[in-house]
Amino acid sequence: MEILQYTDAHTDFRMRLRSFMDREVVPHIDQWEADHKVSRDVWRKMGREGFLCTSLPESYGGLGGDFRYGVIGIEEISRTNHGGLAAPLHSDIVVPYIASYGNASQKEKYLPGCASGDIVTAVAMTEPGAGSDLSSMVATAEEDGDQVVLNGAKTFISNGILCDLVIVAAKDPAEANPHQAISLYLVEDGTPGFKKGNQLDKMGLYSQDTAELFFSDCRIPRANRLGDKGMGFLMLMDKLQQERLVCAIMGVAGAEFMLDWTTTYCKEISSGGRPLSRSQAVQFALVEMATDVNLGRTFVDKLVADHVEGRNVIVETSMAKYWCTELGSRVANRCLDIVGESGSTEACPLVRGLRDARVMSIFAGTNEIMKGIAAKFMGL
């Protein structure tokens, strides 16, 4: 049986996207990694060819597709072994906030650009002092007539340099209950008082333009509030199932890529006069990793199917996020153990794979947060 049923339309989409990646992404990755960002142009190209925001209705320039298109997008980017081009973040995590909670004029104004690649989006939740603890957020949003004044700093914001539009979470200082104080705001690049900080120097994801964002008496129209006042916390929580599922898929897809590469390597490279793959120890290591990858893949496929059906799988998604992102790092490490010292240079794809995989256990809620959520919903 196939747990995830893909239609011909899905498969066609995948093949077109793969060819796009081979043509427009893979040849540029080394340059992007050196530049510490992807080209602004590739976003527009992706948009023009219909690879962004596949879940948006066609009226906004999307495909009107289900989440399986998003899955294909994540998997095909993972196959390029780089995590800089954060299209899944844009298409499957940030833009859905606008699609779900935006009013008609917000949608009209922003969604077509999101789909065409003219608007790159980011979401700004995390703060320097707060990490995974949303309730201790300190950025403020105060109403002043028809305007809202934002103050505060956000950090670790993916697409932080390239973004044209940021969804910012901030608190009403007058509201004591931290869970009812947060609202979401749409802030455009160029708004006075909104400053993009320097790009952060990271272990990996070199071509991902992660940055700090600063808001200093940044005034935006009150109409730029996304959804109802004080509903920010709930909106964030509501979207987290899909965000974490995205991470889980990235973990499995990354592991698949690295294991495939290593398996091929072991068949081709000899040590002591025979292919590495003839070593029983290497065989067992590859089989053990393949087993783990199969387990993760089957689990994630089922969760995607459940998610597409609209089921609440918060416990299982939390589990998948932690297990599959750890899988990515574990497979990277163990593949390197097999390849050995010659795998330690950047010429070996496992090196970038390992560096890029490491952050997945941290972002979108650390794996410890995931376990805490699962424990809570298991009644422990």
């Binding site: 995390t126 707060a130 990490g131 995974s132 603890d133 309730s135 201790s136 950090t155 670790f156 952060l200 120097d201 990271k202 272990m203 990996g204 490279i269 000899s270 040590s271 002591g272 006069g273 590495l276 070593s279 120890a281 290497v282 290591a285 790092s329 490490n333 390197l336 153990d337 097999i338 390849v339 050995g340 010292e341 010659s342 795998g343 330690s344 240079t345 950047e346 010429a347 090196v351 390992l354 560096r355 490491r358 952050v359 256990s361 941290i362 972002f363 650390t366 794996n367 410890e368 376990k371």
Partner: protein
């Protein structure tokens, strides 16, 4: 600490103080980003006797043992994994000169190595033979009282930076694969030797790394190191002695990652409590501390064994694995405890992790090392 004598404790303390005074975080970040060797620190460390502490006194060394060398590597890597690694690896291969060199060879190189005038390196592996030294293809042919060397050595640490290399080549093409190999000393400025810089690596980037290409390199007969035909066991001994120094580095890297994690969890608050107050944080810290002590006792035990002249035997390889795996795991957990900040270069622990993983891969991965242990534990099968 329990098993150190007074002078060893003093060396550890002196090395820690040197590192504290001389290593600078911003400088380290810059050097690592630029793949640059910490030249000035190396000079100062040599002046104070921290380089070559285990080399003989008559050749400007400290005349002490592998344990003392490990302690210095530990203290340095604990303060900065990359600088520590660069300083510890600067003498890489000198152990082979001590063990197999004749008086002239020692005199020619060891003082300069111990005094911080020259780095040393060894080129044993070749990409074609993987971890299997018996399959070395580099040829050393005897011609008119000279040796003529042709071949390529890959991933040579200090490659391009060292003044002299220990090179393993085949001197007897007729002999069975494991026999007929010999070691040679090759000066860096030798004609016919080309350096092909390796790409930036996952870690260990303050140490130069290059492939060495030998094209009709002519060496005088006197450049043979040790006995002709005994190159393989000699190379393996050098690898093992280097291995225990790597264990010392990894111990330090693990301890340094733990130091940083401890400082962070004591300070950082989440959900209105210090991270250190969460039981899960405490379980992690305990696991990290456990691995650091395992690495410490294994490393000290193996080094002491070597210093007692009993040979490192299986304990050396075991210390190597224990310490390297501890360093990788502890640094990895430190990143996780730091959260998003742990992924930033600023946090240092991500660099400790990368350095640890490269140390873990150096001179043979886990499968290879375990096969070595098995060979010694199982012995000959009847």
């Amino acid at each position: 600490m329990v098993t150190l004598d007074k002078s060893q404790k003093e060396i550890l303390k002196a090395a820690s103080e040197f590192a504290k005074g001389e290593f600078d975080k911003d400088q380290a970040l810059a050097l690592e980003n630029a793949n640059a060797f910490p030249h000035d620190i190396w000079k100062k460390a040599a002046d104070l006797g921290f380089v070559g502490v285990h080399l003989p006194e008559e050749f400007s060394g400290g005349g002490l043992g592998m344990l003392e060398a490990c302690l210095i590597a530990e203290a340095f890597c604990r303060k900065d994994s990359s600088i520590g690694m660069a300083l510890a690896m600067a003498t890489s291969g000198a152990e082979g000169l001590v063990r197999y060199g004749d008086a002239d060879q020692k005199k020619a190189y060891l003082p300069r190595i111990a005094e911080g005038e020259m780095q040393c390196g060894f080129g044993f592996f070749e990409s074609e033979c993987g971890g299997d030294l018996a399959g070395v293809a580099t040829v050393a042919e005897k011609k008119d009282g000279h040796w003529v060397i042709n071949g390529t050595k890959s991933h040579v640490w200090n490659g391009g930076a060292a003044g002299v290399y220990l090179i393993l080549g085949r001197t007897d093409p007729e002999a069975s694969p494991g026999k007929g190999l010999s070691l040679f000393l090759v000066d860096a400025d030798q004609e016919g030797l080309t350096i092909r810089d390796a790409e930036r690596r996952l870690g260990g980037n303050m140490v130069a790394c290059a492939d060495l290409v030998f094209t009709d390199v002519h060496l005088p007969a006197a450049n043979l190191l040790g006995k002709e035909g005994r190159g393989l066991p000699q190379a393996e001994t050098i690898i093992e002695e280097t291995g225990i120094l790597i264990a010392g580095q990894c111990l330090g890297t693990a301890a340094g990652a733990l130091d940083r994690a401890l400082a962070y969890v004591r300070e950082r608050e989440q959900f209105q409590r210090k991270l250190a107050a969460f039981e899960v944080t405490r379980q992690k810290i305990a696991g990290m501390a456990l691995q650091v002590e395992q690495a410490r006792l294994m490393t000290y035990g193996a080094a002491r064994c070597g210093d007692a002249g009993k040979g490192l035997d299986r304990l050396g390889v075991m210390a190597r694995i224990t310490a390297a795996k501890a360093a990788v795991a502890v640094a990895d957990e430190a990143i996780q405890l730091f959260g998003g900040y742990g992924y930033m270069k600023e946090s240092e622990v991500e660099r400790f992790y990368r350095d640890a993983k490269v140390a873990d891969l150096t001179l043979g991965g886990t499968i290879h090392l375990k096969n070595k242990i098995a060979g010694r534990v199982i012995g000959k099968i009847k």
